[in-house]
């Protein structure tokens, strides 16, 4: 096999690298149907097995363009894509409703998306609802007991990463040696909008984790659980973390998972230290006036 230098644009190939050979069935989630065959083509959803266990896959496909919404290309999450992803999650929750924690299927998010649909029709209809809908679905799956794991293999940019990734229990990222990108906006755009000098920003971006781009800095902020050094290590790392998430949920340590858990991890790793102090002060100040509001 030739050496791989990037996984960008390889969402479908990554599914095959991770799941049990030949087990992926596109759209094969119980009860899941689509209005048409090419609905939300930038999103790939389906069922597969990992070490024999049934799981749901939600990935980006950078190759097709959406025939009905022309701004949606290159792995962008448009309205159809967002709702398709949300439906895959809701159907997965329903398929395991009433089952014990150990039998709730894991959801694996394979992340390679440059953004949400930036068009006029998108704003007229409400792109914000599609991305919001998918996030709420993922949060519900996580709180219902499904392990939700995201693995960044290519681009994890801003709102699209919030939508597809940041609601997971844990987030893994392929090393930036493979061109992996995690950021809100390219430096050139940040420089223009904030009216800051690009050279100053470039220098700062190498050292300051709240500002810098890339998986290493997100790791320091607690935004990434573990960096995966090479593509052939993705599968084992995914399996290890799914086991860990099952264990933490069984032990009711859900505070160590999801967005809240990443806040705690960010403090442990020294990347976000003000967050907790702010919340502690808020609680103290409320306690001092609580009677006025709870017994009025």
């Amino acid at each position: 096999m030739d050496a791989i230098d990037t996984m960008i644009g390889m969402g479908r190939e990554t599914i095959d690298m991770i799941v049990d050979a030949g087990s992926f069935v596109e759209n094969g989630i119980p009860g899941f149907t689509l209005p048409c065959a090419d609905y939300g083509p930038g999103a790939v959803v389906g069922s597969a097995k990992m070490d024999g266990r049934v799981c749901t896959i939600v990935a980006n496909d950078a190759m097709p363009s959406n025939p009905r919404f022309p701004v949606v290309t290159s792995g962008i999450i448009g309205m159809e894509e967002g709702y398709k992803m949300a439906m895959a999650v809701y159907r997965s929750i329903e398929a395991d409703a009433g089952k014990p924690l150990a039998d709730k299927r894991p959801l694996l998010l394979i992340v390679d998306t440059p953004g949400n649909g930036p068009g006029k029709v998108e704003e007229i209809v409400g792109m914000n609802k599609a991305t919001g809908a998918y996030q709420l679905a993922l949060a519900e799956a996580r709180k219902t007991g499904h392990p939700v794991l995201a693995v960044v293999i290519g681009r994890a940019i801003s709102g699209a990463f919030l939508c597809h990734g940041l609601q997971a229990d844990q987030i893994l990222s392929l090393s930036d040696k493979y061109g992996t990108m995690i950021h809100v906006m390219p430096l050139t755009s940040i420089a223009r909008i904030t009216k800051q000098d690009i050279e100053k920003l470039t220098a700062l971006s190498k050292t300051n984790p709240v500002f810098a781009a890339g998986p290493e800095f997100f790791f320091r902020l607690g935004g990434v659980e573990e960096i995966i050094e090479a593509p052939d290590a993705i599968r084992d790392c995914v399996l290890k973390h799914i086991d860990e998430i099952y264990r933490l949920k069984a032990e009711r340590q859900t505070d160590r998972l999801g967005p809240w858990g990443r806040g705690e991890l960010g403090e442990e790793r020294g990347g976000r230290v003000t967050r907790k102090a702010v919340m502690q002060r808020m609680n103290e100040q409320f306690a001092a006036v609580a009677d006025r509001y709870l017994r009025a």
């Binding site: 919404f69 809701y90 930036p118 996030q135 939508c163 609601q167 940040i190 935004g223 967050r275 808020m282």
Partner: protein, 318 residues
């Protein structure tokens, strides 16, 4: 008290975040939490040589709407566009967490008391989302806010109040979409990608950001009301917004859940129908959508007062 009475008739659009916070709850009932005296400032802005604010551009606190404790989050657009960084994000997250803990502590008492004192969260949005100067921390805070909105579901109503000059865009655009109830004035806007960004990314043919009328038709309160995203369109005074919040505080949780646009499979299925409708229609302008829904005279709707507008506008209904 006199301040509060004066505030009531003030324009919401023109008011500051703190005036909105004070005026949205009962007279004299607002206590700011982690206010400017606490001096929790952004540790990141000084590195870039940028000015700080002692409240980091967001007011958080608690007040009362009758017997209901109201947790208030109010963003200040005049400080770096109301953008959300580490401190401001933590204030939002902390306030939502506080709402949840108040709810839980009330559950320890009698069921009737818990119902009569059910808390409510009021978020006045004025933001473009993540603060680029501390982008990663802002992004992570957005995810925490969304997580807590799901925790508060069916327990504590979360109301988005959008009446500010900047409106609500970027990552906060989908936070607002994920609240229970959205209240807007016709002068404010809600969306994801702001007009300037669409123009820059897709060209002026896609969107002319200098066309103010186009901007308001696309994301303004009236359009969002027709789309079903805005539940209540109100006038532009603080009293108008407060009365609407008071009304929501009295509603049952079932009724409130029914106001949501997203958050369940059924809601997603309804939105998918709207997307399919738009795919067939290929609107070039929001008024194409209005007409297709049965609003024969869009110009008349644009000119109508918000009261008149709500009587005659035909809304999307899946």
């Amino acid at each position: 008290m006199s301040t509060w009475h004066t505030l009531q008739e003030r324009s919401f659009l023109e008011s500051s975040a703190r005036q909105r916070a004070i005026g949205l709850v009962d007279a004299g009932s607002f206590s700011e939490l982690v206010g400017p005296l606490e001096r929790f400032v952004s540790p990141h802005l000084p590195i870039l040589g940028e000015a700080i604010e002692f409240d980091d551009g967001i007011v958080t606190g608690v007040g009362l709407l009758g017997k209901h404790p109201a947790i208030v989050i109010s963003q200040e657009g005049r400080f770096i566009g109301g953008s959300v960084g580490e401190v401001g994000g933590a204030k939002m997250v902390g306030a939502l967490k506080l709402a949840l803990s108040i709810f839980e502590s009330l559950q320890q008492g009698s069921a009737a008391e818990a119902e009569a004192r059910r808390p409510i969260v009021l978020i006045s949005f004025e933001t473009g989302g993540v603060r680029l100067h501390e982008a990663n921390a802002g992004l992570l805070a957005h995810a925490e806010v969304m997580d807590l909105l799901q925790d508060l579901r069916r327990k504590v109503p979360v109301v988005a109040l959008i009446g500010s000059k900047i409106g609500c865009f970027g990552g906060m655009g989908f936070i607002a979409a994920a609240t229970d109830v959205i209240v807007m004035s016709e002068f404010s806007r809600l969306g994801l990608t702001g007009p300037e960004v669409i123009e820059q990314e897709m060209g002026r043919n896609e969107f002319d950001a200098s066309d103010r009328a186009l901007v308001f038709r696309t994301t303004g309160g009236k359009h969002k009301f027709i789309m079903g995203d805005c539940n209540f369109l109100v006038g532009d005074t603080l009293a108008d917004f407060r009365r609407q919040a008071q009304h929501v505080a009295q509603m049952s949780m079932i009724e409130i859940e029914g106001m949501r646009r997203i958050g369940s499979r059924g809601a997603v299925e309804r939105q998918m129908k709207l997307v399919a409708f738009a795919a067939d229609l290929r609107p070039r302008d929001s008024t194409d959508m209005w007409k297709a829904l049965g609003n024969k005279e869009p110009q008349q709707l644009i000119a109508a007062s918000e009261e008149e507008f709500q009587k005659i506008a035909v809304r999307w209904n899946a």
